[in-house]
Amino acid sequence: MRIVADRERCMSAGMCALTAPEVFDQDDEDGRVLVRESDPEAEAALRAADAIELCPSGALAAR
């Protein structure tokens, strides 16, 4: 799995960092998503999948 984030679509709602903190963070500038771990494993991968579904702006995907 490779997690990708489209920072142009991101609305900085922070759902990703809340749901899968080991995978996502938000930058200090305007809160947009940062991928901390693009190839998460086990539990973190499941949480990342939840975060992808929850993201309000459709900015996240797994390839």
Binding site: M11, S12, A13, G14, M15, A17, L18, T19, P21, D25, Q26, D27, D28, E29, D30, G31, R32, D50, E53, L54, P56, S57, G58
Partner: protein
């Protein structure tokens, strides 16, 4: 059933808002959920549009850029003028809630950096101090209080004032104007006047924030060469408005709901680790943004086999969607231990609540400390005597007499 009755059933006139119970959405609204996306006629002219009550359909339309807020809204889903409705094109500059991308994105990003999860968690200590002060004041005053006036409203107001750099001493003014803006039972003229007053108030703070900047959000916005004074005023206004009424109502109504579900309350007291999930469940169960999220269809869109035409209105009923049995088991039950993932109490799509991580921190700390400080918290009047704000844009209670 006669043909007329069938037709009425197919196309309800407006979104039902009369509630039978304190914590449940209107039964007539829930009955409409049989069809998650359906036709509905709007006030005042009876024009046909759409109502969304299903969870999956709500998320779909809210995330779809073809449904917009940057139009002039003249219709309402109920016989009351909706918060979105105005008699003139008067949305204040910077009030990004009523803008669409890319302008919405430009303005929203001016503030999102200060509302990140990390920043909000760092703010936890300050929120805890504010909560402690309110609790100490309640205890000092005796063994009974109006929880709304002494706790629910002051805590989020103090927090947002501090973040923005708005003098808390002015609270009487901005709390009243905010409340008038959201009061759907007031004449449109008064609500509008209140909107202009609040905008004027925040705008008036801007020059001093630029000449004598402090460590607050209004000062950093005022220093941004990319923003006009009016835009700073509009951004400040939206945050002040959204930043205290909503969380205040979650505290008031949430405390009432806990006191009326003693088993769940006992469970939470026994197991404080439940708090994070409990806050999400209260958000889902109460869904205080009950006036609905309104959008206008910008271009023809096909959703779940329906053709939504450009210009039509669409209203998402989040309080119904958050009780969709297709998504949540036993949706009518308050179950503080359940998985609430995907609830839309903060909305969905590009307008999803900017302040949600702040609201979460405020509620987790606020509820935890309230329960800890008052092990014997109870209602001071019978629950039937508590007036519910069904007419308000945000659902809640005006006052909550409690004792301990």
């Amino acid at each position: 059933m006669t043909a007329i009755e069938t037709a009425a059933e197919e196309t309800p006139h407006g979104m039902p808002y009369h509630r039978e119970t304190r914590h449940d959405p209107p039964a007539a609204l829930m009955a409409l959920q049989e069809r998650p996306l359906r036709r509905m006629t709007y006030y005042p002219d009876g024009a046909e549009g759409w109502l969304v009550t299903g969870h999956a359909a709500s998320r779909k339309v809210l995330a779809d850029p073809r449904f917009v807020t940057g139009e002039q809204f003249v219709r309402s889903p109920t016989d009351q003028p909706h918060f979105f409705v105005s008699s003139s094109r008067h949305v204040p500059p910077g009030f990004f809630f009523f803008f669409d991308p890319p302008e919405h994105t430009r303005l929203r990003r001016k503030v999102t950096g200060v509302f990140t999860l990390k920043r909000m968690n760092e703010l936890g200590d300050r929120v805890a101090d504010i909560v402690d002060e309110r609790i100490a004041a309640m205890k000092a005053a005796g063994n009974a209080a109006d929880l709304v006036r002494e706790f629910a409203l002051p805590v989020p107001s103090l927090v947002i004032c501090e973040m923005l750099g708005v003098p808390y001493a002015d609270r009487d003014h901005f709390q009243r104007t905010s409340s008038d803006i959201f009061d759907q039972a007031l004449p449109i003229e008064r609500r509008d006047e209140a909107g202009a007053e609040l905008f004027g108030y925040v705008l008036g703070l801007v020059p001093a924030k630029r000449s004598d900047p402090e460590d607050d959000l209004l000062s950093s916005l005022a220093a941004d060469p990319d923003l006009t004074d009016e835009e700073v005023g509009g951004i400040g206004m939206i945050l002040l408005l959204a930043g205290h009424e909503t969380t205040a109502n979650m505290f008031g109504l949430g405390t009432l709901a806990l006191l009326e579900h003693p088993d769940e309350l006992a469970r939470l007291r026994a197991e404080p680790g439940l708090m994070t999930g409990a806050v999400e469940e209260l958000l889902r169960f109460l869904t205080v943004a009950h006036a609905g999220m309104m959008r206008i269809v910008k271009e023809d869109a096909e959703i779940d086999g329906h053709l939504l035409r450009a210009g039509e209105y669409l209203t998402v009923a989040p309080h119904a969607a958050n009780r969709d049995p297709a998504r949540f088991e036993r949706p009518g039950e308050l179950d503080l231990g359940r998985n609430t993932q995907g609830h839309i109490a903060f909305g969905h799509g590009v307008h999803q609540c900017v302040g949600q991580q702040l609201a979460r921190v405020e509620m987790r700390i606020g509820f935890a400390k309230l329960l800890e400080a008052f092990p014997d918290l109870r209602l001071a009047v019978p629950p039937e005597e508590i007036a519910l704000r069904t007419d308000m844009f945000i659902y809640g209670v005006d006052s909550l007499p409690v004792s301990w």
